[in-house]
């Protein structure tokens, strides 16, 4: 039970800067996901909290105490490694009880605590097995068991379920989130899987090339990404980007694309003005629209609709992804399976204007 504060934390490996000026705060009992592509610095960040990696600049505080120079064993954190790192010469019981044995707890208490952890993870029958006799999913559970058997201040999870198969991963996602709520402890969870982050985290820290891109709730990250990277990285079906120009005509703002003209709603216009984007009459912007915010039709229902050509359909069961050619680019639209369009059909679409995102082409940052 503790909060973790990062204050201008920088980590360098030789000349390579793995983590740069990281500043954010993980509140007590919060599940914070560190999300980013591989090589973003997520693991380095976790390892610095755990004390396995030296901090080059800045400070990390756990529960208000600066832990920069503290040995890992003195930090009272638990970690689940990406590779699980189970002790191969110890049985499941010995693996899980090891942290308690190091603390010289009473054998009867150890037995009780290990049994409880095994019960929570539903692996009681594996108690006498060795790691090499376990499947990937079982190893993962034992690794989690070793972390929950004591009450550390912070749980560090480094891609703990990245190597499970898709079905088990989806299952463990739910289990881990449940576990976190049950234990009511602080979790720092690194993952490269945006779906994992969206579904589990209280707040998500999106990191790229060691730089924090955005730190916010899943809802904000998904609907109001801070920059083009976050917008592109989040979303199971990638967001559609359009190179546009934002024009101001008679106090009204329009978006001009090579094939269409979009009128912006009052709320969006207000948001842009509030953010105070600097431009006189025109500004090159990137328009981002999520595939589910585009409404597709085979008929032109109103004059505002934009037209395109159906390029490809990708059925997903209940839904279908339709690839549409608009001008010179391809976009993806998520619609339900009842949509009857065929290849090369002429299609029309509307954009849910309230859900759009606009980014400055130069700085790549959101202007709303």
């Amino acid at each position: 039970m503790a909060q973790v504060v990062f204050e201008n934390v920088t980590k360098k490996y030789g000349r390579l800067v793995a983590v740069k000026n990281l500043t954010f705060e993980c509140k007590d009992k919060e599940l914070v996901c560190l999300l980013g592509p591989s090589g973003a610095g997520k693991t380095s960040t976790l390892r610095m909290v755990g004390g396995l990696e030296e901090i080059n600049e800045g400070n990390i505080y756990i529960d208000g105490v600066c832990v920069n120079t503290l040995h890992p064993s003195k930090r009272d954190v638990a970690m689940v490694f990406e590779t699980y790192a189970l002790y191969p010469h110890k049985t499941v019981f010995e693996n899980i009880s090891y942290p308690l044995q190091l603390r010289k707890e009473d054998p009867a208490v150890i037995e009780k605590k290990v049994r409880k952890a095994l019960k929570i993870l539903d692996i009681e029958d594996l108690i006498d097995r060795y790691p090499k006799q376990l499947s990937g999913g079982q190893k993962q559970r034992v690794a989690v068991g070793r972390s929950i058997v004591r009450n550390p201040k912070v749980f560090l999870m480094d891609e703990p379920i990245a190597h499970l198969d898709a079905k088990l991963r989806a299952h463990m996602r739910g289990e881990l989130k449940h576990l976190q709520k049950e234990l009511d402890e602080t979790f720092l969870y690194a993952t490269h899987d945006q779906l994992e982050a969206l579904s589990m985290a209280d707040r998500i820290a999106v990191i790229d090339h060691g730089v924090l891109q955005q730190f916010d709730t899943a809802d904000m990250i998904y609907n109001h990404p801070a920059n083009v990277f976050v917008a592109g990285f989040i979303g199971d079906i990638p967001i559609n980007f359009f190179q546009c120009v934002l024009e101001s005509k008679g106090g009204e703002l329009h978006l001009k694309h090579e094939t269409f003209l979009l009128k912006l709603s009052k709320t969006i216009q207000k948001q842009i003005k509030k953010k105070g984007a600097q431009f006189t009459s025109t500004l090159p912007v990137i328009l981002g629209i999520r595939p589910e915010d585009i409404k597709l039709s085979l008929r032109r229902e109103n004059s505002e609709m934009i037209d395109g050509k159906l390029y490809l359909t990708e059925p997903l069961g209940a839904d279908v992804i339709i690839d549409v050619r608009v001008g010179s680019q391809l976009i993806k639209v998520l619609t339900d399976a009842s949509f009857k369009g065929k290849r090369d059909d002429r299609v029309f679409f509307d954009v849910n204007i309230e859900q759009i995102n606009l980014f400055d082409q130069q700085s790549k940052k959101s202007i709303m």
Partner: protein, 286 residues
């Protein structure tokens, strides 16, 4: 066709194994049986054509402890054996634990120029013992440890220590660092991680190192002869003295050979159970 080729292959395999067996085991059988014979009986050979006689002479002879009596009661082989055991046990007892810590430092520590240091350590083992014998003799004489057990132990350690560092480091490098890191996170100090994680996982390596270092010291003749000399004669030196200009005491040489090999076989059997590789298998994912 297929079956035939398999059986032909099997036959060839059996022949090769049989030849290898004859090549390696017959001399040992010969040595063991000669060790338990009276001197006169050793040179008895069967009549031409008497094939059974071979087995009679090798296996069903009159057992006698005369050779051992001559060596241990009349001769000084108790002292030689004691010298050998002390030199070997002490040298291995120093080389392996020290090597263990040094190997850990070499494997995990951040030492500037580690690569060169490591190479330098192993070069000391590359020179043949004969090459360093004269300088060592001078050194040993200067420090007055010629013809002492301590001198012999030191000499063996000079060669065993780099070897054990080199061997153990290889084993340690193969242990994933994350296992130790997991131990730190679980609340273990560096020492705890070393004793709880590293040592159990390199048991096969430890076993191998103990055996190889023991073999080096136990079988050594050169150091024992030149540096050990009269004061600390070991078994190989003692046995070689059974051969003189006037006579060769074959019976005692055979018995001495038996005394030489038995401890190493026993050691090998004891350590064998640790020589199971693949202990780290299954620690990590996959």
């Amino acid at each position: 066709m297929n079956r035939d080729s398999i059986s032909v292959g099997k036959v060839i395999k059996i022949i090769i194994i049989a030849l290898f067996f004859l090549w390696t085991v017959v001399p040992i059988i010969f040595m063991v049986s000669s060790a338990f014979k009276e001197t006169g009986d050793i040179f008895e050979i069967p009549q031409p054509g008497d094939w059974k006689g071979i087995f009679r002479l090798l296996f069903f002879f009159k057992v006698s402890m005369a050779q051992f009596y001559k060596m241990f009661i009349e001769g000084k082989f108790f002292k030689y054996l004691l010298n050998s055991v002390i030199a070997t046990v002490c040298s291995v007892g120093i080389s392996v634990p020290l090597g263990l810590f040094a190997a850990y430092a070499m494997s995990r520590g951040r030492i500037p120029g580690k690569k060169h240091l490591y190479f330098w350590v192993i070069t000391t083992r590359m020179a043949p013992p004969v090459a360093v014998m004269v300088p060592l003799y001078v050194l040993w004489r200067t420090y007055g440890i010629l013809q002492t057990r301590i001198g012999l132990i030191l000499a063996y350690t000079t060669f065993n220590l780099p070897f054990s560092i080199w061997l153990l480091r290889g084993f340690m490098d193969s242990i994933p660092r994350e296992l130790e890191e997991a131990s730190y996170i679980d609340g273990g100090s560096r020492f705890r991680a070393f004793f709880d994680i590293v040592i159990p996982l390199i048991k096969p390596g430890l076993g191998t190192t103990v055996i190889l270092c023991s073999l080096f010291s136990w079988n050594d003749y050169l150091f024992a002869l030149i540096l050990g000399g009269r004061g600390s004669e070991t078994l190989p030196v003692g046995i070689s003295e059974l051969e003189s200009a006037t006579s060769i005491l074959y019976g005692q040489i055979m018995a001495g050979g038996l005394v030489m090999i038995v401890p190493m076989i026993v050691l090998g059997l004891i350590i064998k159970k640790y020589l199971v590789t693949g202990l780290t298998m299954g620690a990590m994912r996959g």
